[in-house]
């Protein structure tokens, strides 16, 4: 740089420096290209796929999850084994009659005060139509006092009478502690659906039936309160066709049952939501951006009502509805504006921390499936959809989110009677 340079006028100085700048010849760096290539590889990985591919993957996963859930739900395990019969059949009718009258008719030689008749759908016991209509079947539950409740020595005896002899309660040896289930061909013909008859002494049966009910309660799902740990991949976008890069949600939840099939759930969830959109970001005044890329760190505090319309012994399904409060921990936006020329677009970055909170500003919708893993643990999957009631964040965007929670639920009190 010569002395002359400093004496030049502004334009001359500018021209010389511009020439120096434009003449720069920076040798190519293979190392730099390697890094660029790695970045491109990362970008073309599944996480960088478009919303369509991501959506397809999600739908596929959810389809598989639902199919598995349905298969499990319909599995016959609940009616397997003698200890499970009493809790799985549907009692269609209970009819009491005075057995003294029967005694007077000579049908019953023992002085029994009452009897109880319970109709059980044939299929609940897992027998085929052919079996039940062609053959006499007797199912005897014999038990000693209190053993029925424990289910330790309960046994089922199935006897076949191919001679077609009319079943008679007298034919079956009865005692104070014996329940008799009998199925007669003649009885089956009288009703549309084949039934199994239960006859027993009322004093014993009333007590035992209470025990059956208690047992039935004991084997129902879950306790009144549970804690959960949940995480989910999360897709966010302003429009439903603009879901892109996946974010995530992770947190803890708590749930309390106010009714047997109705609960209130809440929790604290940290959520990272990246998204991009061509429109929808609103700045208070002036020129609006053409597109926006955003990354938000959010604390999501939901309060949801859950209804459990389907419930079995080891599994159940629910529908959830509620509101979330979004505490925007940090927001980062890249706003792209169009310039004056065709290719004159420029970007502006915006970073906001802890400025925007939206209390009960987001509606939650979800469905879920829960399956028991043990006395105190269960696993739950819950596809969800969140939509803001008003805009969220610095740009008041309608940031919708969807995802699939997978979580472990812990019942501190174990499996309670409800």
């Amino acid at each position: 740089m010569s002395e002359k340079l400093s004496d030049n006028r502004d334009e001359e100085l500018d021209r010389i420096l511009r020439e120096v700048s434009d003449s720069a010849d920076i040798p190519f760096s293979e190392e730099d290209w390697g890094e660029m290539k790695s970045r491109l590889d990362l970008d073309s990985s599944p996480a960088g796929l478009g919303w369509f591919a991501t959506g397809i993957a999600w739908l596929g996963s959810m389809g598989i999850a639902i199919s598995i859930a349905l298969l499990i739900w319909n599995s016959p395990e609940e009616i397997k084994g003698n200890t499970e019969i009493s809790s799985t059949y549907e009692i269609e009718s209970i009819e009491s009659k005075n057995l003294n009258q029967e005694s007077q008719n000579g049908e019953n030689s023992e002085p029994i005060s009452d009897s109880i008749k319970v109709s059980i759908p044939q299929q609940s016991l897992g027998f085929s139509d052919n079996t039940i209509t062609s053959e006499k079947m007797e199912v005897i539950f014999s038990e000693k006092e209190n053993e029925f409740e424990r289910n330790a020595d309960t046994k089922i005896v199935i006897s076949e009478n191919k001679e077609g002899t009319q079943a008679n309660s007298d034919e079956i040896p009865k005692s104070q502690n014996e329940l008799v289930f009998s199925s007669k061909e003649s009885d089956l013909k009288e009703v549309e659906e084949p039934i199994v008859m239960v006859e027993a002494k009322s004093d014993a049966v009333e007590e035992d039936f209470d025990q059956v009910k208690n047992k039935d309660k004991k084997e129902r799902f879950g306790g009144k309160f549970n804690l959960s740990f949940q995480l989910a991949p999360d897709l966010s976008g302003v429009k439903l066709d603009q879901f892109g890069k996946a974010g995530n949600m992770i947190g803890i939840g708590a749930e309390y049952f106010v009714r047997s099939r109705l609960s209130i759930s809440s929790g604290v969830f940290y959520s990272y939501k990246p998204y991009s959109a061509n429109e929808g970001y609103m700045i208070g005044y002036g020129k609006q951006p053409n597109s926006v890329f955003g990354e938000c760190d959010i604390l999501d505090i939901p309060i949801n009502l859950r209804i459990y319309p389907l419930e079995g012994k080891v599994q159940r399904a629910f529908v959830g509805l509620g509101l979330s409060s979004y505490l925007m921990l940090s927001e980062y936006y890249e706003l792209e504006y169009s310039g004056y020329g065709a290719n004159d677009s420029y970007t502006q970055e915006l970073e906001v921390k802890g400025k925007n909170n939206h209390f009960f500003g987001v509606a939650n919708f979800s469905v879920g499936y829960e399956r028991k893993l043990g006395k105190t643990l269960s696993i739950q999957v819950e596809p969800y959809f969140k939509v803001p009631l008003n805009g969220v964040g610095e740009g008041d965007i309608s940031l919708k989110s969807t995802g699939l929670f997978v979580g472990l639920k812990y019942y501190p009190s174990g499996i309670n009677i409800r």
Binding site: S6, L13, I26, M36, N343
Partner: protein, 188 residues
């Protein structure tokens, strides 16, 4: 550079995410892009990151660029915007850290970037300017933006932009030839 326009074949390759075409483009515009980024940033690594961000704008969505327009001005604009965003972040850090001046990392051991001595000297001079002067000087003198555009980009008034440019020139002259500058000052 044979043409200011991007070859249609290369652009088509970018649209199809063809890695070979991406590499060809990267090789062609590496030096050009790096020379812009180095002027605005304080380290070579930072310059490289911004350069890659700029390439990613094109590689991830090539249709953002209209192939009927010259490529260089568009790419320059993308890079300058990225540099300004980075510069603003640094400014915030400086104010948050109590005005600690960033020290230019010109003795980077990385090969190639500053081999051209003339350019290296220019970069060193520019980095010696206070950040606000440096940004305006880069934008106005070396990248051809108007004071109105600079004011919008940096969020300052047009007057401040002009004033900063004037002071930047004065500083540069002072650094280029301190003795002459001293004489001139004494004469005044």
């Amino acid at each position: 550079m044979k043409s200011e326009f991007l070859e249609k074949k290369i652009w088509q390759g970018l649209v199809e995410k063809n890695r070979k075409d991406q590499e060809v483009l990267y090789r062609i515009y590496y030096s050009y892009g790096m020379s812009i980024c180095l002027r605005y940033t304080t380290t070579r690594d930072e310059a490289k990151e911004i350069l890659h961000d700029g390439f990613m704008v094109l590689f991830s969505d090539p249709k953002k660029f209209d192939p009927k327009q010259p490529f260089k001005p568009w790419f320059r604009k993308v890079l300058v915007n990225k540099c300004i965003n980075s510069f603003k972040k640094h400014l915030r850090n400086i104010s948050e850290e109590g005005g600690v001046e960033l020290i230019p990392d010109l003795r980077d051991d990385k090969p190639n970037a500053l081999e051209n001595l003339q350019f290296e000297e220019l970069v060193r001079l520019i980095h010696s300017l206070p950040p606000a002067y440096r940004a305006v000087f880069n934008l106005y003198v070396l990248d051809g933006f108007s004071h109105e555009e600079i004011a919008k980009m940096l969020g300052i008034s047009i007057g401040t932009s002009k004033s900063n440019l004037s002071r930047a020139r004065e500083k540069l002259r002072e650094m280029l030839n301190p003795k002459i500058h001293e004489r001139k000052t004494l004469r005044q």
